[in-house]
Amino acid sequence: MPTAIEETVELPKLSNDEIARYSRHLILPEVGMEGQQKLKAAKVLCVGTGGLGAPLALYLAAAGVGTIGLVDFDTVDASNLQRQIIHSTATVGKLKVDSAEIMLKGLNPTVKVIKHNTMLTSANALEILKDYDVIADGTDNFQTRYLVNDACVLLNKPNAYGSIFRFEGQASVFGTKEGPCYRCLYPEPPPPGLVPSCAEGGVLGILPGLVGVIQATETIKLILGIGEPLIGRLLLVDALGMSFRTLKLRKNPECPVCGPNPTVTELIDYDQFCGITPPSEVGPLEVARDKAVTDLPVVDGIPQISVQELKRKLDAKEDVFVLDVREPHEYKIVNLGAPLIPVGEIALRTAELADKKDSEIVVHCKSGARSQRAALALKQAGFTNVSNLTGGILAWADKIDPSLPKY
């Protein structure tokens, strides 16, 4: 296994301080002086400094990777800290790249941190990725997954891939000449909404730690040129069963990017490819993808009502029926006292609302997307006066009752 770093560069020398710091590496024959120098010469790009990127970047910095690039455009939120250990309570509200830099520099002041406070797009990806030796993809959405994959294949850079969902993780190394790419495994993304997403989302906080550290391990193996990287293999991690399996991956001879007759020879419009509206520059991509419906009076035939308007109606004792369509475990966190029918059960449980056929119904969820779906389902089931609460219970907590917790 050759090293992933450019072998033409003369390896940098280690100072006496560095020799002391990395002594546990230096006495491993598989790393040694030369390996540690390779790490120092290496440039790794972490795409995302979230759940996966946090432990990944920390371990790379600890291991002595000389240059770590960070791509993120988000700011640190208190809800990140359950798993994103590169950030801290003191940096809530700061840019994630700035927050991450503080932690990385605190751990290892010699590491060079290059901050890319931007959203990775087709327009900038090749320019950003081209200077790095290894790319570690820890993003949270399909568009960026395909974008990073294609850019890695086009630039011939290995991609230490990791992905998580609730209790389950995947890891592999894509984008090498000899191995398959992400598109060989998944030629097309799932259409938006088909794969259960945010409504049943959430993640066990330690799981991205587990998977991010696997990505870091693969990255370091690629730099050192040792062991058997996950090229052509997909590691499946099940945190509940604590089982690890690897499956063989094949290079797809008809792969549109890495096959012998590629049809994708430059970066494309990945939002279009994934069938979604482009993400905004503000806020996380997943919110943009499944975004709360905003500011339009009527969306797909469903009137959108503001929290202020609902408050006014309730205060005026108007005959309005409020329905919560979140999941029971969310209801336990915070609720408005409204009856609960989870969005997935609406179609089956309309009989419970039979007497509300012509009543004014206002449906709410956490931020307004699931309740829009539920409102559409109710309308289809013959309910005549259904509206969607814009911004959901989060907007209610923001604008009407600040004593409520936000999650």
């Binding site: 979230g50 759940g51 798993r83 097309e188 794969v195 997403s197 499946l236 499956l247 709360a292």
Partner: protein
């Protein structure tokens, strides 16, 4: 034979990680699976009945797309099927 159900699809199998289904080929096992758990069907198959392209199915350690007989590959009770869906998470969703 046993079919391993990935987390995102367990909502449609009553939370079960492994379900046991009878069948002699991969496709007949899937047929039976979707009879037993009808809500799984739209997540695995297109309206035309084709396995969706973002769903990978492994018979033991092999991707069925690369087996000579693909979905018609013979399967017996000691074999295991694993469904591997696309997941994209790097952090949790916030909806």
């Amino acid at each position: 034979m046993n079919i391993h159900i990935p987390t995102p699809l367990r909502a449609y199998t009553g939370g079960l990680e492994t379900v046991s289904v009878a069948g002699t080929t991969v496709s007949s096992v899937f047929q039976q699976l979707t009879v037993q758990y009808p809500e799984l069907k739209p997540h695995l198959f297109t309206p035309e009945g084709k396995l969706r392209s973002f769903v990978n199915v492994y018979l033991n350690d092999d991707d069925i797309r690369y087996l000579p007989n693909k979905e018609e590959t013979a399967a017996n009770d000691s074999d295991e099927l694993t469904i591997i869906p696309s997941i994209a998470g790097g952090t949790s969703c916030r909806l």
